[in-house]
């Protein structure tokens, strides 16, 4: 296996592509947890909605580059709008309540969204093709590689840098970081923290939906696709450290490589490999690789 650099290269690329796909979802999850302190079980469901919305948009626009772009952006916009209604109307009433209620709420959201998806799109399986300009393979020197998988490898770091820039280099990012530390004080300094919370939830949900739309060409679109990613996304944010963007990025890489490489070398053991890895990491660093031990302030 190692003797064949071409196969190894392809597996590395597959790992990266899966890792970046997962990172896009985990990033939204960790953003919401970091600021709102809410563990959003519905994040996978948002991701699924994104894929279905893109599917419907593509049916209208037809198969084209522009249609794909509209599908991704439309998925983010529509899910964002729905998230705004959910956050303002329901979730915001739970911020001061115990965590159990918030968990129950986001779990209830999963059930409702799943049934809505089945009512609207049925329980069949669909697929979305890659946009025309990303079809086929490109020669990377060692081996040809599918353009769309390569595109995902590139999108991950771009989104990571964009979020990092937003958080660290813009005033809005500074306000989010301040809200994460002390929302009562930030409010007393003139920022409407409620609005900040809405914005974060909406952004996180939109990220999840765009992630779902982007992932659709490399997987099937069906009512079970959320369960697959939400577990992976949680493993990523837990090993990376809840609330840490860098942690999510590294966690996604670890899980991506473990899943792809593991399926070759570990065979059937790959199913437990990710959990074993999570247990080992949490034994060594209970707060995750990049989490902070004293993160809990409330």
């Amino acid at each position: 296996m190692f003797a064949n650099p071409m196969i190894l290269f392809i597996q590395v690329m597959n790992s990266l592509s899966l890792a970046m796909n997962l990172f896009i979802i985990a990033a939204g999850l960790t953003l919401i947890f970091g600021v709102l302190r809410i563990v959003n079980f519905a994040h996978g469901a948002f991701y699924m909605v994104g894929a279905y919305v893109a599917l419907s948009i593509l049916r209208v626009t037809g198969d084209s580059n522009l249609g794909f772009l509209l599908g991704v952006l439309g998925a983010g916009a529509l899910m964002g709008a729905m998230a705004f209604v959910v956050e303002r109307g329901l979730l915001s009433r739970l911020y001061d309540k115990e965590h159990m209620l918030q968990l129950l709420f986001t779990f209830a959201l999963v059930l409702v969204i799943k049934d809505l998806v089945k009512m609207i799109w049925g329980s069949g399986q669909y697929s979305i093709g890659a946009p025309p300009f990303l079809r086929g393979a490109v020669n990377l020197g060692i081996s040809p590689y599918p353009k769309y998988a390569l595109f995902l490898c590139v999108m991950g770091p771009i989104i990571a840098v964009a979020i990092w820039f937003f958080m660290e280099r813009t005033r809005w990012g500074r306000i989010l970081r301040a809200a994460r530390e002390d929302r009562v004080m930030l409010n007393a300094l003139g920022t409407d923290v409620k609005l900040v919370y809405s914005g974060v939830f909406v952004t996180g949900a939109a990220l999840a939906a765009m992630g779902g739309a982007l992932a659709a060409p490399r997987s099937a679109v069906d009512p079970g696709m959320d369960s697959l990613v939400i577990i992976d996304a949680f493993i990523i944010v837990i090993i990376g450290g809840l609330g840490s963007l860098l942690g999510s990025f590294v966690g996604a890489l670890i899980l991506g490589f473990l899943t792809v490489m593991g399926s070759i070398y570990l065979k059937e053991w790959v199913i437990v490999a990710s959990y074993v890895m999570m247990v080992v990491i949490l034994l060594v660093r209970p707060w995750g690789l990049f989490g902070k031990a004293d993160e809990e302030r409330h």
């Binding site: 970081r177 301040a178 002390d182 009562v184 004080m185 409010n187 007393a188 300094l189 003139g190 409407d192």
Partner: protein, 248 residues
């Protein structure tokens, strides 16, 4: 006494801030009983009293963080009772909490930046440069995380941060607490400079000397009740009130 209608009376006597008989409860225990006070533009008013008599609660009630169960708070004659604190901040109230509540992972400059509010008419706007001129120590540490500053520097930063919102009135909670005596003198000097710059201040303090040196008028609190009110000079001469309510 002249008779006049309510509206002209308010027009003539309207204070910058008026607190009328507020009651504040934490759960089942009542911590403020009919507390009333007022401050005119340009004044420095002190709330004095031992630990736990309700000074901080009064500040938090005015700011809208711990809203009163009953009573009225008027800002320039307009009721602001139970208004959310971000609206109070935007209207010109600044809050400097006792626990300082610096955003520890944000740098000094970032702490100032998140507190920035538009300039206010009739007041020279506060900018980083003006804040750094008042607190030169902060400029040296502008890129250091707030959590790594010393207690005195954090106290300066929490005042500086509130100034970035261009407040007309600052609620200054225990500025001398937990800082070295030398720094206390420095902070006193800064407070005087602020007052000279036209900012009105309500200051909660346990340190009587500090209060008597700086303030125009004092309210003495004991178990959630205002038990004495007078000018700083009157309080200085009133050993009876000092012994009963202020000495430990």
């Amino acid at each position: 006494m002249t008779m006049c209608s309510a509206s002209t009376w308010e027009g003539n006597e309207m204070s910058l801030l008026q607190v009328e008989a507020i009651n504040v409860c934490y759960g089942l225990s009542k911590v403020l009983h009919d507390v009333s006070l007022k401050i005119e533009t340009g004044e420095l008013v002190a709330l004095v009293g031992r630990n736990g008599v309700g000074k901080s609660t009064t500040m938090r009630a005015i700011m809208g963080i711990t809203p009163p169960a009953s009573g009225k708070i008027l800002w320039k004659g307009q009721p602001i009772t139970r208004r959310p604190s971000h609206l109070n901040a935007r209207a010109g109230l600044g809050y400097v909490p006792e626990e300082r509540r610096i955003f520890g992972s944000l740098t000094v400059w970032e702490n100032l930046d998140v507190a920035r509010l538009p300039p206010r008419e009739g007041l020279e706007p506060w900018t980083e440069d003006r804040v750094f001129a008042l607190f030169p120590d902060l400029e040296r540490f502008r890129n250091r995380p707030g959590g790594l500053l010393s207690g005195g520097q954090q106290q300066m930063l929490t005042i500086a941060r509130t100034l970035m919102g261009n407040p007309e009135l600052i609620l200054l909670d225990e500025p001398s607490e937990g800082v070295a005596p030398l720094i206390v003198a420095q902070i006193g000097e800064k407070i005087r400079e602020l007052r000279d710059a036209g900012v009105s201040i309500i200051m909660a303090e346990q340190n009587l000397d500090f209060v008597l040196n700086l303030s125009d008028r004092c309210y003495v609190l004991e178990k959630g009740v205002v038990v004495y009110h007078g000018t700083a000079a009157e309080l200085r001469d009133n050993k009876d009130v000092q012994n009963r309510y202020l000495h430990i």
